[in-house]
């Protein structure tokens, strides 16, 4: 690992820990009440959803409009699992149950990602988008009709295993993993398919395999997000996982910049926190939101960051540079 990378890792680690400490203090001193903590938790979950979707929409460049379906699968699977586990009476600490539940949710969702992705990814563009909507709707209708998980009335009584502390660190870990995926040979392969599928295949990349991999990974992380959602809300309802929710997540990723993970993070934060802040204008919230969307697409379609990532290290260095230039007499040469 070269010097610059080591520096970046250090800066980011310090920032992450510092941010956590800030939140920790705010929560401990009760400066942040339950309402705001709830928003923070939902924001973390939406960050996970947006980044997982970015694997398919950003890295692979395909219009996946059915992400809510995988979240639902993860949510219901993990909830069923934890309910059975807790009922069985095994004396396991909550954190362990949560980790197991997330794993179950992720894996089950990932399997469905594989099953759905394999035939679906033969299609491209608009058609792929429509089929993903179709599958997502079928999943939603399934849960409406599936008695064992409560059907249309929903699944109640899920133990609340999620708190800000564990969800924050899970989000950090997942962020790290998706980042590293993007900058590994596998991430490169997926991106090359987005850039030019025929050339990618001609360069030796088994494109079908990687497309399905991207899709399954996205579904896996969506399932983990769903598990977190289930164990925070304590209640699941099929109607929450409809087409509209998929669209919301897709819009978050697009506005952040398809292919930019930092963009997804910031976009998820803004688009989760802002509507809550504007609750008093609830009626007009979605109206304004949709106008913003249209205006963004016309004037800055690549989103906030386009395909690039915001680098905290580079940002800090540029601030230091500017200070150095200002400090030297007459703004002379900065060495």
């Amino acid at each position: 690992m070269d010097h610059n990378k080591k520096k970046a890792y250090l800066v980011n680690t310090v920032a992450v820990v510092a941010l956590y400490l800030v939140f920790f203090l705010l929560i401990q001193t009760k400066t942040m009440n339950n309402y705001f903590v709830g928003i923070a938790i939902m924001t973390c979950i939406m960050i996970i959803m947006a980044m997982s979707l970015n694997i398919v929409a950003g890295f692979l460049g395909e219009m996946a409009l059915g992400h809510a379906g995988f979240m639902a699968i993860g949510a219901y699977a993990s909830a069923s699992f934890s309910m059975v586990l807790i009922d069985s009476g095994l004396p396991l600490p909550h954190l362990v149950i949560l980790i197991l539940a997330m794993t179950v949710g992720g894996i089950v969702a990932g399997i469905f990602g594989f099953l759905i992705g394999t035939p679906t990814l033969r299609l491209r563009g608009d058609y792929l988008g429509i089929v993903t909507i179709g599958f997502s709707e079928i999943i939603r209708i399934f849960f409406i009709n599936f008695g064992p998980t409560g059907g249309a009335a929903g699944l109640k009584g899920i133990t609340r295993l999620v708190n800000f502390h564990n969800v924050y660190w899970v989000t950090i870990v997942i962020t790290f993993l998706i980042f590293t995926l993007g900058r590994s040979k596998h991430g490169r392969a997926i991106i090359s398919i987005r850039e030019d599928e025929i050339a990618s295949e001609a360069a030796g990349i088994p494109t079908t395999r990687y497309k399905v991999l991207a899709f399954s990974l996205a579904a896996f992380f969506a399932g983990v997000g769903g598990a977190l959602y289930a164990h925070y809300q304590s209640f699941l309802e099929p109607s929450k996982f409809g087409f509209m929710f998929s669209i919301e997540m897709f819009v978050i990723v697009v506005l952040g910049g398809l292919g930019s993970l930092t963009g997804s993070i910031i976009s998820a934060i803004v688009l989760t926190v802002l509507p809550e802040m504007l609750r008093s204008f609830a009626e007009y919230r979605l109206l304004v939101y949709s106008l913003v969307l249209i205006i963004m697409m016309i004037f800055r379609p690549q989103g906030i960051f386009g395909r690039s990532e915001f680098s905290l290290t580079a940002f800090i260095e540029s601030l230091i540079q500017r200070k150095n230039v200002k400090n030297s007499i007459g703004g002379g040469e900065a060495s």
Partner: protein, 252 residues
């Protein structure tokens, strides 16, 4: 020793026969040219040889393996790679990343090792960077390593395509109009480079070209196609004076 052979391969699109019973025998280390008027079917032949199209009829054997039903990436693994007539680079990846894509199968770590950044990851990525930089250096492109492919000048893009095709360590390299759009200086440089890589990497080169200076200058053997059929085959001198060839290009 024959590295690539095609026997009577035919390509039909509906009622149109684009390639009609084409035959090819490539021996090791040969430098062969495939020429013909526009629309003669040359790229279609390339597409059949690289698995992009499945021939309607015929047989293709690469290094003693039938590749007729294989996908392009499987054929790359078996030792054949190609460049494209209209440059197909990964525009939003840098030059060195473009090459690394083709080097993919030689980078040895799995997804988990990648995501958790194990030592294997760092070692293999370092190796990949070194090897891919070496390839770029052969084409004098070292300074462009971290430039996005879409920002490269045209001549460099063409060279990058070839560098990328070499990264998969092919035995047979198929170049589709590598000199298209190049000026005479660049073309002369390209001719030297093709010779160089043929010798250094011990490969067989099959190239499609319209630039006769390049074809006559470096090809040891030339195949001429028109309307999907082979109309002549021989050394550059033989082809130059072949009346059928002249007729195909200039008309009666």
């Amino acid at each position: 020793m024959t590295v690539l052979s095609a026997k009577n391969i035919t390509m039909q699109f509906g009622g149109l026969t684009a390639v009609d019973q084409f035959n090819l025998e490539l021996s090791a280390n040969e430098l062969v040219g495939l020429i013909g008027p526009n629309g003669a079917g040359k790229t279609t032949i390339f597409n059949m040889l690289t698995g992009v199209y499945v021939p309607t009829m015929g047989e293709i054997v690469l290094n003693d393996q039938s590749i007729i039903k294989k996908t392009p990436h499987e054929i790359v693994k078996l030792g054949a790679s190609r460049t494209f007539q209209n440059i197909r680079l990964f525009k939003d990846l840098t030059a060195v990343e473009n090459v690394k894509i083709a080097y993919h199968n030689f980078i040895d770590y799995n997804m988990v090792q990648g995501m958790f950044r194990t030592k294997k990851f760092w070692d293999e990525e370092k190796k990949a960077q070194e090897e891919c930089m070496k390839l770029l250096d052969i084409f004098d492109m070292g300074e462009y390593a971290d430039t996005l492919a879409k920002n490269l000048p045209y001549g460099q893009q063409r060279k990058l395509e070839i560098a990328r095709a070499l990264a998969s360590d092919p035995k047979v390299l198929m170049l589709d109009e590598p000199a298209a759009g190049m000026n005479p200086n660049e073309t002369a440089e390209l001719m030297e480079t093709i010779h160089f890589i043929r010798n250094k990497f011990d490969i067989t080169v099959l190239l499609i070209e319209h630039d006769m200076k390049l074809v006559m200058g470096i090809c040891e053997r030339i195949i001429v196609v028109d309307y999907g059929k082979t109309i002549a085959e021989g050394t550059p001198d033989e082809i130059k004076n072949n009346p059928d060839v002249i007729r195909a290009y200039l008309g009666d």
